[in-house]
Point group: C2
Chain length 371, copies 2
């Protein structure tokens, strides 16, 4: 992992990670070949456009969305904003966005901006309550429904296939939030739109991805360009992200079992420490994400102490916008919302990561509890 001293353990992988060798090579090649604006008419522009089209195809194929159209957005945040408003606008007369209690802040904000909101609750393991979902998507006032595939905070995976089918039967278009799952897990069918985040699968920071099914209908707003990325995005970044996704999907059958094993060992180390609890989400879970709650400890203080021990972890709410202080996801599950840290594993971690983390956590807790 370039840039990180070997002695440090980076466990905040999910919104950013160093580029792999292959993705970096694609990036450098596209710096030379894809610097021109892909929307112009001349040869340099056509060359950029061909690279973008190739990346689009590769991403659609890797996500198992062959017939869907791939749009790039300026960020994952704007992907939600633009997708929710455009799909809702095509469902004129319906004012309500249906979402669930475990949605990320970008979804919460986008839904609030678009219209009224109904929120389906989750159980103590973070799984959407099917009956509440059904009521929300069957409501005649509901324009679209947002369905999280997996939580970037707890790792909980929803039963997208059956929940999307319920919405589909009600005629309500479904936007699947795959920003924590794309690349890591196959995305079930039944969606009208899928939103994914290249930085999460090892692509570059910045752009978001929206895949629309062939039957998805959308309308741009007044005084809004039709482009999904007004102002344009970096072609090299798109290409590197497509290559990183191919790589992640190709290696999934090898990488996921290894990460799951590591996660299990991390859980054991945590469970052996007093006052430390791993957030339980059942067997359908992301292989690389988990949240740990520690009794009577401030999450930020623990992060800082772990950092001094050479271990980087994420903050509880998995949110960098800074507008939400505590974890609404843990709150919805009835869990404590203080003293939580989030671990995000990646393929580059050494085998003894659980031991190193366990020792650092023990030392950090001893320090914090004695002060």
């Amino acid at each position: 992992m370039p840039g990180t001293p070997k002695s440090r353990i980076y466990l905040d992988s999910s919104s950013s990670a160093p580029l792999s060798t292959r993705a970096r090579e694609a990036f450098l090649a596209a710096l030379d070949e894809g610097w021109a604006d892909p929307e112009r008419l001349h040869a340099e522009s056509r060359q950029s456009r061909a690279l973008v089209d190739g990346a689009r195809e590769a991403i659609a194929e890797s996500l198992g969305a062959g017939a869907g159209s791939v749009h790039f957005t300026l960020s994952a945040f704007t992907a939600f904003d633009t997708t929710l408003s455009r799909l809702a606008r095509a469902r004129r007369g319906r004012q309500v966005i249906a979402r669930t209690a475990v949605d990320r802040v970008a979804v919460i904000m986008a839904a609030e901006r678009v219209g009224e909101v109904t929120v389906a609750a989750v159980d103590s393991r973070g799984h959407i309550k099917e009956h509440e979902w059904q009521v929300a998507v069957q409501d005649a006032r509901t324009s679209i429904a947002v369905l999280q595939h997996a939580s970037r905070e707890t790792g909980a995976v929803q039963d997208v296939a059956s929940l999307a089918e319920i919405a589909g039967s009600a005629g309500t278009p479904v936007v699947v939030d795959a920003t924590a799952s794309a690349g890591h897990l196959a995305i079930p069918e039944g969606w009208d739109a899928v939103i994914a985040h290249p930085a999460d699968w090892g692509g570059v920071a910045g752009p978001g991805v929206v895949v629309l099914s062939p039957h998805a209908r959308w309308l741009a707003g007044p005084s809004e360009p039709r482009s999904w990325a007004p102002g344009g995005i970096s072609v090299p970044g798109i290409l590197a992200s497509a290559v990183a996704l191919q790589e992640r999907v190709e290696q999934r059958d090898l990488v996921n079992p290894r990460l799951e094993k590591m996660k299990k060992a991390l859980s054991s180390h945590c469970a052996s420490l007093p006052g430390v609890q791993v957030v339980e989400v059942g067997s359908h879970a992301l292989p690389h994400i988990m949240t740990v709650v520690i009794d009577g400890i401030d999450g930020e203080a623990l992060q800082a102490e772990l950092d001094r021990h050479g271990v980087s972890v994420g903050s509880g709410s998995a949110c960098t916008t800074g507008d939400y202080g505590h974890s609404h996801v843990l709150e919805a599950m009835g869990m404590p919302t203080q003293g939580n840290i989030r671990l995000g594993l990646h393929p580059g971690l050494p085998d003894d990561t659980p031991q190193i983390f366990g020792a650092a956590l023990e030392a950090a807790l001893t320090k914090l509890r004695s002060s």
Copy 2:
């Protein structure tokens, strides 16, 4: 110029150009050092944040805006959207955005989204009519005024210092659109906000830059994160853009006279051809931008023909959103709005560019007029 065969002449420089060697080196270093999300708490994040802070300082210094605060946005398009709405929101009770007839499409759309709009006209050389500007900024209903520094289409430079003073005397905050001038020309004082576009000065495609004066007041909207780039942007891109700006500013006194000379020679070649007219904007002009209008010729057909002759030029309206077909800027100046092409020069062009372009234009026109 990497990626472009030596035999081609690239004259569409303004929204994208290859990275310089120095900017590319900064980019690669930051791929290794700045991959982490700068908004987290751990060491990797602090390292990214330090790079962003350094880029911020370098950009403020290069733009001569030392005391201003530099914000990065997801694109130049969103820079206008976010800045206009946030500054206008802080001027409660005032509903009107004052702008001028030569604004770029991003400004037109952003202003329409924020509120009512008044538009000050320009004269036949594209210069804002001072009296119309004065009336617009003195109107008690006017919340903010947008003032273009230079046109990316015609190269016309406005008298920002005196127009900003008029607005300032009226108490109306001024947003200066420096997306075509930052790096190329020094930005006059008197602004409350400056918007700049790294891709235009040789930085990376993607991000926009907003500089706020210490006395600028702004408010984020409801359900809107306080961040100016919700979802985050690429740290390497920011760093490369800062280095490209430093380089452009350092070399300005050498580069600008050379480009001005080249532009003059290009004008002479154009003027010697029948039916070809260079859009006149007077002596205050960008050194590297000009628009040429050709009688009885379709602009897109000419672009395509020049492309076949190995010369890449821009389209008239300098707009990639595809929502505006003809040039509203030329229309406002009372010029023909068909058959126009735009030339954008950059420091990497060979000395015989005017000769090569002149020959290609002559050949292209012969071909098009005979068909």
